[in-house]
């Protein structure tokens, strides 16, 4: 059968090449950044698109949205594109958005690591070092912030971020009605705490509620236990250094005591807490299923709305030392820190946003909605934070703000107090968990 020659072969080949090239180009073009960010200078009236990227929490998201709204009202030519990403996915989003150059203001946490932990800088520190964030040191709005907070987040003498607030993470929320019913006072020492927990247990009340499925909430009692053994910042910095220099072992008396205490705290928690998600604890606490729950102050808005007016809530530092003075402060962290990307195509709007945020009037709104303690002086912090002001007179950074993990060490030495291996989170006793951590730690050197 004769077939009609449709087209010469060479044309087909050329056509193929062109088609392949065009399709490849079209696909690759789709991958590149399509940023429409208005002006690129840093002067004049802000306009164009402003990309804001933060790691998410219900309360702070709402607070950022309120700021964004009033920012857009003040600068009608600016359109804020707000992205909020869950904590565990944030690093991936941050690196891809920075690489693509379509982020202007973002949450970043450059931490200057001590010389003994050289090469263990996390990504944000490396980014600050390489000039990926705009140096904010000389910006006028930095003067609005509390100097001691700024000095705690300085990176090699410079400021790359503004602190949006402070959270405390080593306390427990308690149900004042239950405490009253069983005639219990707020404990100030470890033995008092044990007595409180035992009293509650004997009355058929579960003392503590922990959302262990997310792992880190079970780490909060560990951070509190560190406070009991190493109360001052100098103590914590000392033990971190000695661990890195291998003068202190994770099986020594004090590090071991941290795990022993954490194990006992786990023993007071609700049955099967290792499978309970963090998000489920405020509801169960509000339902009166347990008398206390270790949680950070950032979660107060959520807990308060779950509890509503069912009972009064209080908050006290989890006392892990038998010396009351060691338990007198809550330890905390500087919350979500905002940086401006130096690759921004809209520096004017980015800096205007940070300035607007830092303005005490706007910052007041943010603090109120986010539940963070203020990082600016003379900002009212709300009834709850006022009620715990005796524990926050001095800002004491928590252990996780001081410790630098070693990538060369095994997983058991990550924190490095190995609470994740403790039964029921893992399968080890406090002693075995410490030994495992020490083994993984020593292997790094």
């Amino acid at each position: 059968m004769a077939t009609k020659k449709l087209r010469p072969r060479a044309t087909v080949r050329r056509g193929t090449a062109v088609l392949a090239a065009v399709s490849a180009l079209a696909i690759l073009a789709g991958c590149s950044a399509t940023s429409d960010s208005g002006s690129s200078s840093d002067s004049g009236t802000p306009s164009g698109t402003l990309q804001v990227l933060v790691s998410s929490a219900d309360a702070s998201d709402a607070a950022f949205r309120a700021i964004n709204k009033s920012f857009e009202a003040k600068y009608p030519k600016v359109k804020v594109v707000f992205s909020t990403i869950s904590n565990d996915k944030y690093p991936a989003a941050e690196s891809s958005r920075l690489t693509a150059g379509n982020v202007d203001v973002l949450v970043a946490k450059p931490v200057q690591v001590p010389s003994y932990a050289k090469d263990s800088e996390a990504d944000d520190a490396r980014l600050a070092e390489s000039g990926s964030f705009i140096d904010l040191t000389k910006q006028s709005f930095m003067k609005n912030y509390t100097p001691s907070v700024l000095s705690s987040i300085a990176f090699k003498g410079k400021q790359y971020t503004i602190p949006t607030g402070i959270s405390y993470e080593t306390g427990v929320y308690y149900n004042k009605d239950i405490f009253k019913k069983y005639g219990i006072d707020v404990p100030t020492t470890w033995s008092e705490f044990e007595k409180v927990a035992d009293t509650l247990k004997s009355d058929g009340v579960t003392p503590l509620g922990i959302g262990g499925k997310d792992s880190w909430p079970a780490g909060l009692p560990m951070l509190a236990a560190v406070q009991g053994q190493y109360p001052t910042t100098a103590d914590k910095e000392g033990v971190a250094k000695n661990l890195w220099n291998q003068k202190t072992k994770l099986t020594d008396a004090k590090p071991q005591a941290i795990l022993d205490t954490t194990e006992k705290v786990f023993g007071y928690a609700q049955q099967n807490f290792a499978g309970v998600p963090y998000s489920a604890t405020p509801g169960a606490f509000a339902a009166g299923q347990y008398a206390m729950t270790p949680d950070g102050t950032w979660n107060y808005p959520t807990i308060a709305s779950a509890v509503a007016s069912k009972f009064d809530i209080g908050y006290f530092p989890l006392p892990t030392s038998d010396t009351a003075a060691n338990n007198q402060y809550l330890t905390g962290k500087v919350e979500l820190r905002l940086a401006a990307a130096s690759s921004t195509k809209n520096k004017t709007a980015a800096l205007a946003y940070l300035k607007f945020f830092s303005d005490p009037t706007n910052y007041k709104t943010f603090v109120k909605l986010s539940g963070f303690a203020p990082a600016e002086p003379n900002i009212p912090s709300g009834d709850f934070l006022d009620s715990i002001s005796q524990y926050t007179k001095k800002f004491v950074p928590a252990w996780d703000q001081i410790w630098v993990a070693n990538t060369k060490a095994g997983n058991a030495a990550l924190f490095p107090f190995n609470y994740v291996s403790l039964t029921p989170m893992g399968t080890d006793s406090a002693k075995a968990a410490a030994q495992q951590a020490q083994q993984d730690w020593a292997a790094a050197f």
Binding site: S215, V276, K408, G410, V420, A443
Partner: protein, 303 residues
């Protein structure tokens, strides 16, 4: 007459073949070689950072004294996950396919129900099963309560992996069932009939007629199952978190190293190291799938 059905000539066929190859090359081969190359660097996937050629340091780190324990645990979990989920999935799918191949009333409804989880996204599946296995008041915990017992489910380090495997099987069973059903329907009726006339019992017909004639479907299912299970981490991630020792899988480790954060700790991450783990995983997946392919093909030929 041409031999290029459905194409009239060689030209269009080549065009389509080349475009396909180009797409595969650009999006499959180039990234794969890229991963191998960057596994010898300390790349972090961040702008403005220098990238250094560090030779086999990432591989040495993977097998270092500090990491080898965690990594062997991940490899062990990966193998248990792959083997158990594939075997159970094949057996269950075969049973269900045989059942649904009968003339049952409403069998299309059953088929749809079995296939339905395949349509759901991983996050949705994660949410459903997290709620079912919530130790505080989930339906599974209520059932255990009737028997006077309780469990932390995904929070129990001895049980977590088994439950993740169970959910994995539940979620992909539908695909295997469909492949088996297609295979079963391709078996001619008269072969079965002839076997019956020769006096074969139902069991003999299954063992000596149905299963041998299903061999290509079994091969397809085993390979798909193994490769999928060896690379799958999404369910372990959404159900038990990124850093759970009990359910740590090799591919999950790659994700966490390359893209994820470790909540509660400031850790220096490197995508170069993640790539090195990918290559180790590639070798494991490659060896296991080629070995099983060879074995299954040989068996198919023998049958």
């Amino acid at each position: 007459m041409t031999n290029f059905y459905p194409f009239p000539r060689r030209g269009p066929m080549r065009t389509i073949f080349i475009v396909g190859l180009a797409v595969l090359g650009v999006f499959g081969l180039v990234p794969a070689v890229g991963v191998l190359v960057i596994s010898f660097t300390d790349i972090r996937g961040l702008p403005n950072l220098p990238i250094h050629w560090i030779g086999i340091d990432n591989y040495l780190a993977f097998f270092s004294r500090a990491h080898v324990g965690d990594n062997l645990n991940a490899i062990k979990n990966t193998l248990v996950f792959a083997i158990v989920s594939t075997v159970v999935q094949i057996l269950a799918a075969l049973g269900i396919a045989l059942l649904f191949n009968q003339k049952l009333r409403g069998r299309n409804v059953y088929r749809a129900i079995v296939f339905m989880p395949t349509v759901l996204g991983v996050t949705v599946i994660g949410l459903i099963w997290s709620l079912i296995f919530n130790p505080a008041g989930g339906p599974a915990s209520s059932v255990l309560k009737w028997f006077g017992t309780n469990s932390a489910f995904f929070g129990d380090p001895k049980l977590a992996l088994a439950l993740v495997i169970f959910v994995q099987i539940w979620s992909i069973l539908g695909v295997s069932v469909v492949i088996f059903l297609a295979g079963l329907q391709a078996i001619p009726e008269d072969v079965q009939e002839a076997a019956s006339i020769d006096g074969a019992t139902a069991w003999q017909r299954l063992r000596l007629v149905t299963i041998p004639m299903l061999a290509p479907s079994i091969t397809a299912n085993v390979l798909l199952g193994i490769v999928n299970a060896l690379q799958s981490y999404q369910l372990a991630y959404v159900l038990t978190g990124p850093n759970n020792h009990a359910t740590q899988l090799l591919s999950l480790e790659i994700y966490v190293q390359g893209f994820g954060g470790t909540p509660g700790a400031v850790v220096s991450q490197s995508q170069g190291y993640a790539s090195a783990i990918s290559i180790v995983q590639f070798v494991i997946v490659g060896v296991i799938s080629v070995a099983s392919l060879l074995y299954l093909r040989k068996r198919e030929a023998r049958l």
